[in-house]
């Protein structure tokens, strides 16, 4: 028996998100900002944030997700799963064409998933490890068979992670050297027009888009402006209308939000739900001691960081699971700002003032300021902290080589503990050379067991109890410092309607957006 999980029509999406009396209008080009300039636009080959933002409007995945992380139809019209949670069948939308006019078929899906992503895409690979086989059943049906049930499977089809790429252009070629990489071909609402490096990326309306009437906009100009202050000016003087999250410094947000005709939303980040953490090297030095790690948690004034550095946006997490991840345990005792408690713990462990190196995240001013605040917090409870400044390359290298004591980072949660959270704590995920695995070196057999079981448990009730236990252990052990779930505000002119309608925000938001001018 197959259970229909969802069936919705994309065209109705905007009516859910806004209470606009006006009918959407066609026309107008939106100017926005991309920061930093992406390395390339072929999603699937590159999955960094700027590529996702721009190319999310060119490429599409099988599904999209609401701000509640409910799957919605995209290239797949509907989907089913068998009772064991092993065989997933996707019905593809008919009449979809690539930007070059070729039809989009099930063969493209199989090629993208089984060939393209298996070769190029580490995050897709993590999901594909659970997949036994992928088969096309006619032109418009694809069947995924899993090795064992995988709880978050349906959350894996977002465009940025599981992009559909055109088989007819890529099959049999060196993917990274493919001539079409410079002129990406997708199925999305906008087509690639021009990239003037260092200045602007221009997208234009896909007139053949498979949803009638969409998109409303004639095009999108993604401006490249390297300086934060200049980006703010660009919004102020009216050159750009939309400031996606992360494009202006946090300190500018309250000021810009006060401007006339300016709206702000914090929605549209739910799928990623970035979780800022402080790696603590569990292998050696003072950070090896659980009490030291707890002391760090007590010493930090996380409320201050949120209120002052992040302008009150975002949310201080209770423990290891963020609020947008599922299965959060809310009965744990919070680590409040308590310097005295921190000093007690340090005394208890006999901390001798050994120097502790702190590695800030080289992603802009706010992070630098945050490191300064944490450094000061820790110094005030008597920890001898020295900040080691570095750039992205150095940061990668240090973390990859485990050459640090404390280090800032943030990780996407991808809506499910098995996708975004367990990777930080699993001992099987300890491997030199990458800053994104279990860099802290935390090893706990019970935690490994619980996470592994929970990932493949079916249905959700089963998973919930396993995750509760994991959270209790982690809360006590403090393998990493849980700093904040970051707020990701998007600023835009209020006459830009229906901009953020999904759990990935502007990444695919321009599809429904329209200008009321």
């Amino acid at each position: 028996m197959k259970t229909p999980l969802a069936l919705a029509i994309a065209a109705t999406a905007f009516t859910l998100s806004g209470a606009h009396a006006d009918e959407p209008r066609h026309g107008g080009t939106i100017d926005t900002i991309i920061q930093p300039e992406p390395p390339g636009l072929v999603l699937g080959m590159i999955q960094n944030d700027p590529t996702r933002k721009v190319a999310g409007n060119i490429y599409e995945g099988l599904l999209s997700y609401s701000t509640d992380l409910e799957p919605r139809p995209q290239l797949a019209e509907s989907w089913d799963v068998d009772d064991d949670g092993l065989v997933w069948t996707f019905q593809l939308r008919e009449g979809v064409t690539w930007h070059d006019g070729e039809p989009f078929t099930a063969e493209d899906v199989v090629f993208s998933a089984d060939v393209f992503h298996r070769e190029l895409n580490p995050s897709a690979r993590a999901v594909l490890d659970h997949v036994e086989s992928i088969e096309a059943d006619g032109d418009h049906t694809v069947v995924f068979t899993l090795k064992q049930p995988f709880g978050p499977f349906l959350l894996s089809f977002e465009a940025g992670t599981f992009t559909m790429v055109p088989k007819h252009l890529y099959e049999g070629t060196d993917f990274r050297d493919n001539e079409h990489n410079s002129h990406p071909i997708g199925t999305g609402p906008f087509k690639f027009e021009n990239w003037d490096r260092g200045t602007v990326i221009e997208l234009v309306r896909n007139d053949d888009y498979y949803v009638d009437d969409l998109p409303y906009l004639d095009g999108i100009n993604w401006h490249v402006i390297p300086d934060g202050a200049s980006r703010a000016v660009a919004y102020e003087n009216g050159t750009v209308d939309v400031l996606p999250n992360g494009t202006v410094e946090n300190f500018d947000i309250p000021r810009l939000a006060e401007l006339d005709n300016t709206c702000m939303t914090e929605e549209g980040h739910e799928y990623f739900s970035p979780f800022a953490m402080l790696w603590m090297n569990n292998r050696e030095g003072p950070t090896e001691d659980k009490r030291f790690r707890q002391a760090v948690m007590y010493a930090m004034d996380r409320e201050f960081a949120r209120d002052v550095l992040w302008n009150g946006l975002g949310n201080v997490p209770l423990s290891s699971f963020g609020s947008n991840a599922r299965f959060q345990h809310d009965g744990l005792e919070p680590y409040d700002h308590d310097p005295d408690r921190a000093r007690e713990l340090l005394d208890e462990m006999g901390y001798d003032g050994e120097e502790v190196r702190l590695l800030p995240l080289p992603y802009g001013e706010t992070w630098t300021r945050w490191a300064e605040a944490v450094q000061q917090n820790l110094r005030e409870v008597g920890i001898n902290v020295r900040t080691q400044s570095t750039d992205v390359g150095g940061w990668n290298q240090r973390l990859g080589d485990w050459d640090y004591d404390l280090a800032f980072t943030f990780l996407y949660q991808y809506g499910d503990p098995a996708l975004g959270i367990s990777r930080t704590y699993l001992s099987s995920n300890i491997e030199r050379g990458s800053p994104w695995n279990n860099v802290g070196g935390y090893e706990n057999e019970r935690v490994d067991e619980l996470f592994n079981e929970a990932a493949t448990a079916f249905p959700d009730e089963e998973r919930e109890s396993l995750y509760r236990e994991v959270q209790e252990i982690l809360h006590e052990d403090v393998p990493v410092g849980w700093l904040m779930e970051l707020g990701f505000p998007t600023l835009y002119r209020c006459d830009v309607n229906d901009l953020v309608t999904s759990g990935v925000g502007v990444n695919d938001g321009f599809k429904d957006a329209w200008l009321d001018r």
Partner: protein, 278 residues
């Protein structure tokens, strides 16, 4: 006329000296006036100047005392300027002296080496060096020194070239003094005045360079320097003008003062030129 009297004849130089002494005094008095770390978050953020007692210059993005930062920063900025200049002199003076004194192939080789460093744009090289060594006081000082020694070497070489055939140098050679003695005792002391003048300007340039590096996020996060303060404040320049204004003015005044003092030294050390100039 005494050295100082000649120096003081240049009114600008005197003003420069007074500014410079004030800044040095700031640097020395910083730990006494603001015993707490300048990194301490002590008040609410974005406090404008003169609004609350004890915070004459307001507070920064995180509620740190700008006045404390400015005073402690004086120490760091001056230190970076002085040390990097010293290091640059330590590289440039011997190289230039040897090249200028011996001439010939040695000169050729050393000058090619110097030109080589001048072929890579200064600021770009400084950025790369700091990025490679990772930002810290040491790497910044080294990078500044590495990009600023070539003019020293060229100056010293030119001086040596013009002095090495002076009759007193030839006389020294004729009485059998060794090359080392001639370089150190006969020629070097006579090149000191242009070196001192250049050095005073180099300190100024070093302070500017450090601030530019900090501006690009390549400052040392453990020390409060003026460059750091501007770099950190640039993102909030619209909300809090005072955060970049005061350190900016501090840099400006210091560089200005060093230049004025440099000119004064030039006048005082080269009385002939000074007379012509006035």
């Amino acid at each position: 006329m005494s050295f100082f009297a000649r120096f003081a004849q240049n009114r600008g130089a005197l003003i420069g000296l007074i500014i410079l002494l004030t800044i040095i005094a700031m640097a020395i008095l910083a730990p006494l006036l603001f015993p707490e770390s300048p990194w301490r978050m002590v008040q609410r953020p974005f406090l404008p100047p003169m609004e609350v007692d004890g915070f004459p210059l307001g507070t920064d993005t995180m509620g740190r005392n700008v006045a404390a930062g400015l005073m402690h920063g004086a120490w760091v900025s001056l230190l970076i300027g002085l040390v990097s200049t010293t290091v640059a002199l330590a590289i440039g003076v011997p190289l230039g002296a040897i090249a200028g004194y011996y001439g010939g192939l040695i000169d050729d080789a050393l000058m090619r080496f110097t030109e080589f460093f001048q072929t890579i744009p200064n600021f770009a090289l400084a950025i790369v060096l700091v990025a490679i060594m990772q930002p810290s006081i040491t790497s910044i000082v080294l990078a500044i020194a590495i990009v600023s020694w070539p003019p020293v070497a060229r100056l010293v070489r030119a001086e040596f070239l013009s002095l090495r055939n002076r009759e007193y140098v030839e006389a020294a050679r004729l009485v059998g003094q060794s090359n080392t003695t001639i370089i150190l005792r006969q020629i070097l002391p006579n090149t000191l005045s242009p070196i001192i003048v250049l050095a005073s300007l180099m300190v100024a340039t070093a302070i500017l360079l450090e601030s530019a590096l900090s501006f690009l996020g390549l400052g040392d996060p453990n020390v409060m320097s003026w460059g750091y303060m501007i770099g950190a404040a640039r993102t909030v320049i619209r909300q809090a003008w005072w955060l970049s204004f005061f350190p900016g003015v501090a840099i400006l005044l210091t560089v200005l003062a060093l230049n004025l003092v440099g000119e004064g030294l030039d006048d005082a050390l080269n009385p002939k030129l000074a007379r012509e100039r006035s």
